[in-house]
Every structure is written in structure tokens, then in C-alpha cells.
Amino acid sequence: MAEGHTQRKARRILVLGQSPLADALSDLAGAAGLAVHRPPALPESRDELDAIFTDQTRREQYLRHLGDAYREAEVVIEAEASEWMDPELPDTTLVLTAALGHSTAEAADDIHARHRVVGFGVLPPLEAGQMVELAAGPWTEPAALDQAAAFFRELGLETAAVPDGPGLIFPRILCMVINEAAFALMEGVASAADIDTAMKLGTNYPLGPLEWADRIGLDQVLAVLEALQVEYGEDKYRPAPLLRRLVRAGHLGRASGRGFHVYDSGEPPA
């Protein structure tokens, strides 16, 4: 910090994904003095990404599009339910994958340096001191877990080690609560506003489940439920049809102006 001290180039991190979580983590990393790079656009789907990665010319084009940040990044964060990772990432990079729509193991399986992959779970809105769950995949080296914990601490967040699986602990539980709230709303048991009020005042939830979903992104919630349904093969994880319909309509929550609730268009949600 002192004048004359060697000016170090800010360490680079790359944040992949367009979710509210990607936005929130980017903001925290920026505030912590890290150079945050976010590719302007990602392929439409994992299938398209796979097609790109299997074609050498397209792959090089894509990596150029991501820029030098990709190769130079100390940490690459896949901050949404979908998988965007380049299988050929250098093994010096720490790879953090949001274990939401998949487990850490599933994400790491595609990646060459799979010992460098750590799963994490946290949901927006983020605040200082909030806990991030960290999960090792079957191949994760202990040093990568330590680095992941140090990285999140640098962002002002705390960490706890948890077992791997889609949605880890908190996102899994919260997404099931949100799903039930969506079923209740769909069945006309109560209005969205009354469901949120009831859960905040009747059982001390910090946010109502539907407004929480609007902060997380409804597509992210749906991805967690679908991954749980596949993992366990049980009907109890069946996503509420209303949730699917809203995602299909592009009503993903606050960021898109509408989710379970409708937000004023034009101005960014507070």
C-alpha cells in the first residue's frame, strides 16, 4: 500500500455465467481489488459449448473471445447452474464450480485438471460474512480446497466444508422450500405476497421464498430441483409446473423484471 511499494498487477479472476450469483460474486471480487473478467456472451447451451470444444478452429475462436483472461486467470468461477468450463484449463488455475445444477464430481469429470476443481454453494443476495459451502469432488486435491477457502475469505465470505451433491446443503433445502411455495401459489392457496409475508412473520425466514427465488434466478432454482430429481429418481423433487412455465417465459426474477413478483421495469431492482 505504501508509496514506492512494488505496484503489483491485480490478480485476475474469470467469472462465467449470467446469473445473479455471477453478478454478486463479481461485485465482491471487484470490491476486494481483484481484476474481474466476464465474457460478454456464452454459448446458448452446454451442447453448443461441447460442439465448440470438439472443433479445434471453433475452440480457438471461442478462447480468443474469452480473451487472455482465461489463460491468465488465477481463479475461474462457474457461477451458475450450467457448465461452461473449458476441459483444457491449465492445472495452475483454481476452478470453482457452483454445485447447483450438478455435483462437483459431474463438473470435474469433463475437465482435464480435475484435481483443481472445487464445488461451492451460496445464493444471492450475498452479504459480508455469509457462509459459502465448499465441496471436494472425488479427485479434488486438499490444496485446492484450501485455496478456495482463502479465495472466498478474500471476498469477505466464510466457508464450511460439506459433502458433494447437487445443491449441497443450503441451496438444496431452500430450493425445495421455494418449490413448495410455487406449488401453493399455483394451486391458489394464497397470493405470492401473502406466502412471502407468512414465511417471514410466521417462522422467521429472512426473506420470503418467492422473493428469494426472484433474487436467485428462477432458472437456477429449477436447475437445482432437476438435478436432485435425476440424482435421487424421486417424485418429491418434481419441480412445480408454475416454476417451469415462468422460466420458459423468461420471467427469471428481479434481473428480468419479473419472476414470481413483478418489478418496476426500466430501473434496476434495488
Partner: protein, 291 residues
């Protein structure tokens, strides 16, 4: 709008009945508190007097106003004294036959315009009201424990509830300085239904045997900013109470798999591990009464 209620009748002087009476008295209403059992009435009266005294100690109520509030309380063991009351809240134990009997008697004493609310968390309003001559004046009014602290009231309208009766119930909840929400007569209403998964999913994670219950609680507090994790909260509620609520929702939805209770808790109930009140549940509570 209907006339404001002058006297609130409360049937059942247990925890909920006494709690509602305390709130109503402090909000300026007259209260006629009934319990068929004289000793229960005495306990209820002293419970709510303690509650009022606590409100004074914490500076929330002036001593003279508290005295006035207690002066507005009348108690009775005779249900027929509900005759002149405009609004009755029934708070007897969660037993359909018992509640139906209370309502059948109340219907005989009270004017047809009197609203009969039931403070139930797990019984269908429709089933309680069905045998009555005027089922349209029955609404659900689900308070949360402790009533003096918890701001929510779920106001439940069954398929035959008159919308005006539901509106009057909403108005009374606001008069008691509570925040009412409207719910259809559906198992668990809003809170007991949606919150099932907070507990059930935590039990599923615990069952997989890879993480301890205390760690799950810690993550839920830290990651979700909940005041309590699911296991410590179940211990506080009482494992037996929690299991009964869970069964009611599961049965109410005709065994929908989403609500299937976990056998883990049933074993705890059978073993007498009921949470804080027995000194041991998921956690141990040294110094608590053991038995």
C-alpha cells in the same frame, strides 16, 4: 364495514387462548375467556397476567393501562355466557370431534351474525364447520406461538365461508396489531406446508450419513441467515408436536410423496426424545427437566 368488536369471546384457556386474550386485552378489547375446567381457567388467567406484567417490565405498556387491561377480562366455565359476544375464537385442543362439539354448542347460544373463528393449525375449517346450520360464519384464525411475540395470523376461508366473515376476521387480526394473510383451506395452510421441506430435506441430508446435524444447522444459519437451523428448531418446537404437524399435512394431501415424514423422528418420539422439554432431542440440554 362491520361494527368494531367490543367483546371478544375466547374458548379454551390453554397456551394459545391465554396468549390471544393477553394481546386482545392490551389492545383495548374486552375479553370473555372460557374454559370448561375451572383449574385450566385459573392457570390461563395467571399465565396471561404474567404476560401483561412482562409487557410492563419491558416498558411496552404503562402500569395503569395494564391494570385497566386486566380489568377488561372476564372468565367463565359456562359456554352459554358467550351469548352476547360478537366474535368468538375457539382455541380448544386439536381434536375434530371436540371442536365440532364446541361449535355446535356455540351456534345454539350466539346470534347468527356472530363470527366463529377456529384457531387450528392442522384441521380443515370445512370439516369443523360442516355440521353447523350456518357454516358460512366459520373462518380459520391460525395464530403462532408465542402469540404475544409472533406477528402473523393465517386467516383461512373454507369453501363455504362467507367472504364477509373472512373480511371481519382479517379486521380483527389487524385490531390485535397482527399481520393477517389469507389462505385457502388447504392442508397446513401456508406456513406449516411450505416449511415442511426446511425440516424434511435436512433430515434427508442427515440420513445420508455424511454430515452431522449440528453442521447442517450451522450451514443453514451461516449460509441462509436463518436464526435457527432445522434440528435446533425441531428441538425447540418439540419433536412430537413437529411429527404430528407433519403427519397432518401428509395425510391431508392423501400421501403426496413430497410430504412423507421421515421415520427418524418417529423413532425419537417413541424413545421419548422430544427435544428441549425432555432434556434431549437432536441435542442435549443439561439442566432441563428429564422426563
Amino acid at each position: 364495514m362491520p361494527e368494531p368488536i367490543a367483546t371478544l369471546g375466547i374458548v379454551g384457556a390453554g397456551t394459545m387462548g391465554a396468549g390471544i386474550a393477553q394481546v386482545a386485552l392490551l389492545e383495548g378489547l374486552r375479553v370473555l375467556l372460557h374454559d370448561a375446567v375451572e383449574s385450566a381457567l385459573v392457570r390461563g388467567r395467571s399465565r396471561l397476567a404474567r404476560g401483561v406484567a412482562r409487557a410492563v417490565e419491558r416498558g411496552r405498556v404503562a402500569p395503569d393501562l395494564a391494570e385497566e387491561a386486566l380489568g377488561r377480562l372476564e372468565t367463565t366455565t359456562r359456554l352459554a355466557e358467550m351469548r352476547g359476544v360478537e366474535f368468538v375464537i375457539e382455541c380448544v385442543p386439536e381434536d375434530l370431534a371436540l371442536k365440532r362439539q364446541v361449535f355446535a354448542e356455540l351456534e345454539g347460544f350466539t346470534a347468527p351474525g356472530t363470527i366463529l373463528a377456529t384457531n387450528t393449525s392442522s384441521l380443515p375449517i370445512s370439516a369443523i364447520a360442516a355440521p353447523l346450520r350456518w357454516p358460512e360464519r366459520v373462518a380459520g384464525m391460525h395464530f403462532f406461538n408465542p402469540v404475544a411475540v409472533m406477528p402473523l395470523v393465517e386467516v383461512v376461508a373454507g369453501p363455504r365461508t362467507d367472504p364477509a366473515a373472512a373480511d371481519a376476521t382479517m379486521a380483527l387480526a389487524r385490531r390485535l396489531d397482527k399481520t393477517p394473510v389469507r389462505s385457502k383451506d388447504s392442508p397446513g395452510f401456508i406456513v406449516n406446508r411450505v416449511s415442511r421441506h426446511f425440516f424434511l430435506e435436512a433430515q434427508r441430508i442427515l440420513e445420508e450419513g455424511r454430515v452431522a446435524h449440528a453442521h447442517i444447522d450451522q450451514v443453514i444459519r451461516g449460509a441462509g441467515r436463518f436464526r435457527m437451523g432445522p434440528f435446533e428448531l425441531m428441538d425447540l418446537i418439540g419433536i412430537d408436536v413437529h411429527v404430528a404437524a407433519g403427519k397432518a399435512v401428509f395425510e391431508g394431501f392423501f400421501y403426496e410423496p413430497r410430504f412423507r415424514p421421515h421415520p427418524m423422528l418417529q423413532r425419537m418420539v417413541e424413545a421419548g426424545l422430544l427435544g428441549r422439554k425432555t432434556g434431549k432431542g437432536f441435542y442435549e440440554y443439561p439442566g432441563q427437566d428429564n422426563g
